[in-house]
């Protein structure tokens, strides 16, 4: 099909929650430098699919590869070590902790010298300074105080914190599960811009979204998830939003020949 190896791929992924079927033999491929959108109805298994790669779930059966290596993540920590960073739909921020603490949760910076090594003291000053810079880079200047507890932030601001965390630490893949769901028009545009920027830098992104115009604006390929499986992968150039909705609901089936199962972004551009 193609000679460019996928950064991340899954084959025949199955995940049951008791008697509920989350994934029913799903496939996925993410190629270097591309933005892959994942769309589908509520409960189609989008979050479950990406959670296998985030380390939040282990699939019951199926194989997963990251840069050609077989992987099975037992925790989000392992996935992070593999360079995969995720903004979860539930955001996964700790309300009582402040913004800087949240950004560095699980990978805190320690002080230099004996204070850090023997007393394991955190370098709060540095974490705050860098956290502030990161949010500034994202253009989220509406947050006034980096030592503010996250519970005092608005829903959109919390989302910004989660996105900033992923963008700051993702080294191989960044996964965004509905990152703009709680955002206003301006903040949504910022996140969209961020995805563009990541793409420019050659960072592969998986974007789950229900926002069709957004998906068609930013995605290289669109993975349509239906009933726990990949129904089709299409490109925005060949298909329009109406087609995508038709595939989501099962009204339209697309021949493999018309799909974009391989990479569409030329390696030269990456």
């Amino acid at each position: 099909m193609s000679t460019v190896p996928a950064i991340l791929s899954g084959r025949g992924l199955v995940k049951h929650f008791g008697r509920v079927v989350g994934l029913n033999g799903a496939d996925i491929d993410l190629f270097p430098g591309e933005v892959l959108a994942v769309i589908g109805d509520n409960g189609a298994g989008k979050s479950t699919l990406i959670k296998c790669f985030s380390g939040a779930h282990a699939p019951d059966t199926g194989t997963m590869e990251v840069t050609g290596q077989d992987v099975l993540f037992r925790s989000t920590h392992e996935a992070r070590l593999a360079g995969i960073e995720t903004v979860f739909q539930t955001l996964a921020v700790s309300p009582a902790l402040d913004i800087a603490e949240n950004l560095y949760l699980g990978r805190e910076i320690r002080k230099q010298g004996v204070l850090g090594t023997a007393f394991r003291m955190l370098d709060r000053k540095r974490m705050r300074a860098e956290a502030g810079q990161r949010l500034q880079d994202l253009g989220i200047g509406t947050i006034q105080n980096i030592s503010q507890a996250v519970e005092t932030l608005s829903g959109g601001q919390r989302q910004a914190v989660a996105v900033a965390r992923a963008a700051a630490f993702g080294s191989k893949v960044i996964i965004l599960d509905e990152p703009t769901a709680a955002l206003g028009v301006r903040e949504s545009a910022r996140v969209l811009q961020l995805i563009h920027d990541l793409r420019e830098r050659g960072m592969p992104v998986i974007l789950i979204s229900h926002n069709m115009p957004q998906v068609f604006e930013v995605a290289d390929r669109i993975h349509v998830q239906r009933l726990g499986k990949r129904a089709a992968v299409v490109t925005p150039s060949k298909f329009d939003m109406k087609d995508a909705v038709a595939i989501m609901t099962g009204a339209l089936e697309v021949d493999e020949a018309d799909q974009a199962l391989g990479p569409v972004r030329t390696p030269a551009a990456v």
Partner: protein
């Protein structure tokens, strides 16, 4: 406070102040362990039972039949104390293991181990009290006092204050401290953020065990003997101290300094009632009311803050 003062002017004497800090030392030290656990949204009802088991272990290991009617093992004091602290750590570890591995609620697990450790104490050590003079001086060293101005200071009180300082530092300034808050605040979010919540919880119960072990040594010094019947209300008292100190029973919020103040309030409250001539029973009743009032206040503040 003012009421107590009027009820009995002995209440403000320096000797009484010294006595009060000394009375705080047992509940105060145990409340450090309880704070760590409650910060993770847990609770430890077995704190008193572990403490008693640890101190009876220490005392029985150290005595010999020559000076006591207990068979004993005649271990050196340092070794016996270390063994008692280790036992307490293992006991805490058992709590942690059951809570993490089998995902059982801390309330149930520690309710069970409360009975288990109480029974183990009776099985291994009978109901015999070992008096201070039967033991080497090191065993009661925590109870020795020295003069500081008008105050009589007990060594155990200094150790307790040092522990408050250390754990306040750890909570504020280390990753482990941050993770304790994160796990208590929202365990799912903590797990998704890459924190091994199981490991954090287990380590908290082990460290709590360590603190309980040290509290056992302090208790022998403070009481002047090792008795299975010491401090019968210590579980409730330690929880009361933590809650009055502003730590939320729902986890994720609270400070060590708050707990220290909470412990002082509990003791002042009881001491005040005692000096006013009330018996044990109404004092226990009052503490029960106090803890419910404190939790209700916590709930109410949360609601008002939204």
């Amino acid at each position: 406070m003012i009421v107590f003062t009027m009820l009995n002017d002995r209440f403000i004497l320096a000797t009484n102040l010294s006595l009060m800090t000394q009375q705080t030392v047992i509940v105060g030290t145990l409340a450090i362990a309880q704070t760590l656990i409650i910060l993770t949204a847990g609770i430890d009802l077995s704190i008193g039972a572990i403490m008693v088991f640890a101190q009876m272990t220490m005392a029985n290991l150290v005595v010999t039949s020559e000076v006591s009617n207990v068979a004993g093992y005649g271990w050196p004091a340092a070794l016996a104390i270390a063994a008692g602290i280790l036992i307490a750590m293992v006991a805490g570890g058992v709590n942690g293991f059951l809570i993490v591995r089998f995902e059982l609620p801390p309330f149930i697990v520690t309710l069970g181990t409360l009975s288990i450790f109480t029974a183990l104490t009776l099985i291994f050590f009978k109901a015999r009290t070992i008096q201070g003079p039967e033991m080497p001086d090191a065993m009661t060293w925590m109870g020795t006092t020295f003069k500081l101005g008008p105050f009589t200071v007990m060594t155990g009180v200094l150790v307790m204050l040092a522990m408050y300082g250390i754990f306040a530092f750890i909570l504020r300034n280390t990753a482990w401290g941050t993770h304790i808050y994160a796990v208590g605040d929202d365990p799912d979010a903590a797990e998704l953020s890459g924190i091994s919540t199981g490991r954090v919880l287990f380590s908290v119960y082990c460290v709590a065990g360590l603190i309980i072990g040290i509290a056992a040594w302090i208790t022998i010094g403070r009481v002047g003997s090792a008795s299975p019947n010491v401090a019968p209300n210590i579980n409730l008292d330690s929880i009361t101290a933590v809650v009055i100190g502003g730590t939320s029973l729902f986890g994720g919020r609270g400070t060590m300094i708050g707990t220290l103040l909470g412990a002082l309030i509990v003791v002042v409250f009881q001491n005040g009632l005692a000096l006013a001539g009330y018996d044990q029973a109404p004092r226990v009743l009052a503490v029960g009311v106090l803890v419910i009032a404190a939790v209700a206040l916590d709930q109410w503040i949360r609601k008002v803050q939204g």
